[in-house]
């Protein structure tokens, strides 16, 4: 006992060399991200503030940024509708082929985005598997539905995975008790399971939305027009160069940062019911 306490106090006094190394390496990573982002924003503000102001008052720029946010929001809503039930099944049920299903749902995370775009095009394009029969009713190519479909494909896994973790953290015994107290499954799900998994659902939704907004490769293949933020930035970069595209990039970053920080702050007050 005396030996143990001695060792502990020695640890308190001096940082282990390995931990010191870890601190340094994590600082490198942090600076890497920070410098890249901050340099762009600060550089823009210092050297070309008027360009930023111009971008912020330009209608096509604002339109493209709004389109990014809005299409991403729609993709997130569809992800919730489809991903939450999927996540619940994966968290609660065991079945043969479950591993396959889980891997399948994760595929969009690992394939290159341009590949995803090509694949989506062959399904939702005018002559695609679903695009052709749906042609009279809904157009995907160079249209809003195409943007949403591309965003949905790449971002849905983030929500599904987070929701699955959330549901796994809700003790099935709580659901059993709710059932025995007279709650049918849907009420149990709505009153017990969902509120207890809400933090994971929120975090999953934010991740999903963020991923949708940041998508470029898949979207640009299926819908160059109407232009979402990233497409406009790319388009300006090719036609007018870095100085024309950077203000839009800075604006897009600022808008998304403000939204995510706001959501984080608003949700910080939420109780945490995760199992300890």
């Amino acid at each position: 006992m005396g030996f143990l306490t001695k060792q502990k106090s020695a640890n308190n006094r001096r940082t282990d060399p390995l931990m010191l190394l870890f601190y340094i390496l994590s600082l490198v990573l942090l600076l890497f991200v920070f410098v890249v982002i901050a340099n762009m924003i600060i550089g823009q503000v210092m050297t070309d503030l008027s360009g930023l102001v111009d971008a912020a008052s330009s209608k096509p720029v604002l339109k493209s940024i709004f389109l990014s946010l809005y299409a991403g929001f729609l993709a997130t809503m569809i992800s919730l509708l489809l991903g939450v039930p999927t996540a619940y099944i994966l968290a609660r049920k065991n079945f043969t082929g479950k591993r396959f299903v889980e891997s399948m749902l994760d595929v969009p995370v690992v394939i290159p985005h341009t590949v995803a775009g090509i694949a989506l095009l062959t399904v939702f394009g005018a002559n695609g598997l679903l695009g052709a029969p749906l042609q009279p009713y809904i157009q995907f190519r160079d249209a809003m539905p195409g943007i949403v479909v591309a965003m949905l494909f790449v971002s849905a896994p983030y929500l599904t995975n987070s929701a699955r973790e959330g549901f796994k953290n809700v003790d099935p015994k709580l659901e059993n008790v709710a059932r025995s107290l007279g709650a049918p499954l849907w009420k149990t799900f709505a009153i017990v399971t969902l509120p207890l998994a809400s933090r994971h659902l929120l975090i999953g939704s934010i991740m999903c939305w963020a991923r949708a907004i940041s998508e470029f490769g898949a979207v640009v293949m299926i819908a160059y027009y109407p232009m979402i933020g990233p497409t406009l930035i790319y388009d300006r970069y090719l036609s007018q160069g870095l100085s024309a595209s950077r203000p839009i990039a800075v604006l897009l970053i600022l808008v998304t940062l403000v939204i995510f920080i706001t959501v984080r702050i608003l949700s910080a007050g939420w109780r945490v019911y995760d199992k300890d």
């Binding site: 015994k173 709580l174 059993n176 059932r179 107290l181 007279g182 109780r271």
Partner: protein
Amino acid sequence: MIKIKELHRRWKEFRLAGIDLEIADGEYFVILGPTGAGKTLLLELIAGFYRPDGGDIYIGDKNVTGLPPEKRNIGFLYQDYSLFPHMNAAKNIEFGMRMRGIKDSDTVKKIAGYLNIGHLLHRYSQTLSGGEQQRVALARVLVINPDILLLDEPLSALDPGTQDSTRNILKSIHSDSNLTVIHVTHDQTEARILADRIAIMMDGRIVQVGTPDEVFDRPINDEVAHFVGVENVLKGKVTTSSNGISMLDIGGTMLEAVSECVAGDTVYACLRPENITLGTTGIKSSARNTYEGRLVEMERMGALVRVKVDCGFLLNAFVTNQSAGELGLMYGETVVVSFKASAVHVV
């Protein structure tokens, strides 16, 4: 009446094989068995949380095997209480009524008063002690007025003091409401004290069903004997009690115990077998309880020998192999057993 017929279910490492049980209305029925016997699974099948692979469950005349849990009107209490962490105690208790579309704060208050948790109603489960959570969970179950109360190891997560008081609560709930209770436990003392009847469950099978006396004094086979044969639990009546010393009448034989109980009460005297001293002649010692009895059973258990002595009541005691040899203990011989009054735990 609850009737369970030929119930089968495989689940992970457990296997329930052909469970047959009949439990009468108003009975306090204890399912006693070692960990891993499948007791909780059986309870969850009765509640309807899982479907059996085969067999039927009847409540009254109704076959409920295919009914979902919300249609069975069964109260279920898990070992860890499973209070909803996002609701305070009052909301937890109201849950069942809310599901039935009833608003009745009087009933909540009445039950909270009965279980002495009126002052905790605004609190969340994270801030409640085990015993308090237990009582909130009980209130939540009782409020729906269930036909059957299913208890999954309700005392094993509590400290000894709270165990005693909770056991009394369970007893009075049962006697006040005449509720049918099925209580699952691995604790023999708990089973003996609470049960009208006991079912011994081992490896997914019901091995023996009977009154506590039948099960503990006449175990059906070696396995059951091994499992139930250790602790001594004697039912008796307090004849006198003063200065912390009580005299208990155990079926005609008097026993002295250190205890603050009240004369006239029916109590249980618990006695650990290692606290009993064995001799062949009377020994003068500070042990207040000395009895002559016949040695009716001897069994080697490693370095120890378990002996059963009939001295008006049956007592299990441990002696070492060496002592057994030196004393020349033999089946059928008369021996003297003694133990201190302070070794007797009265509940």
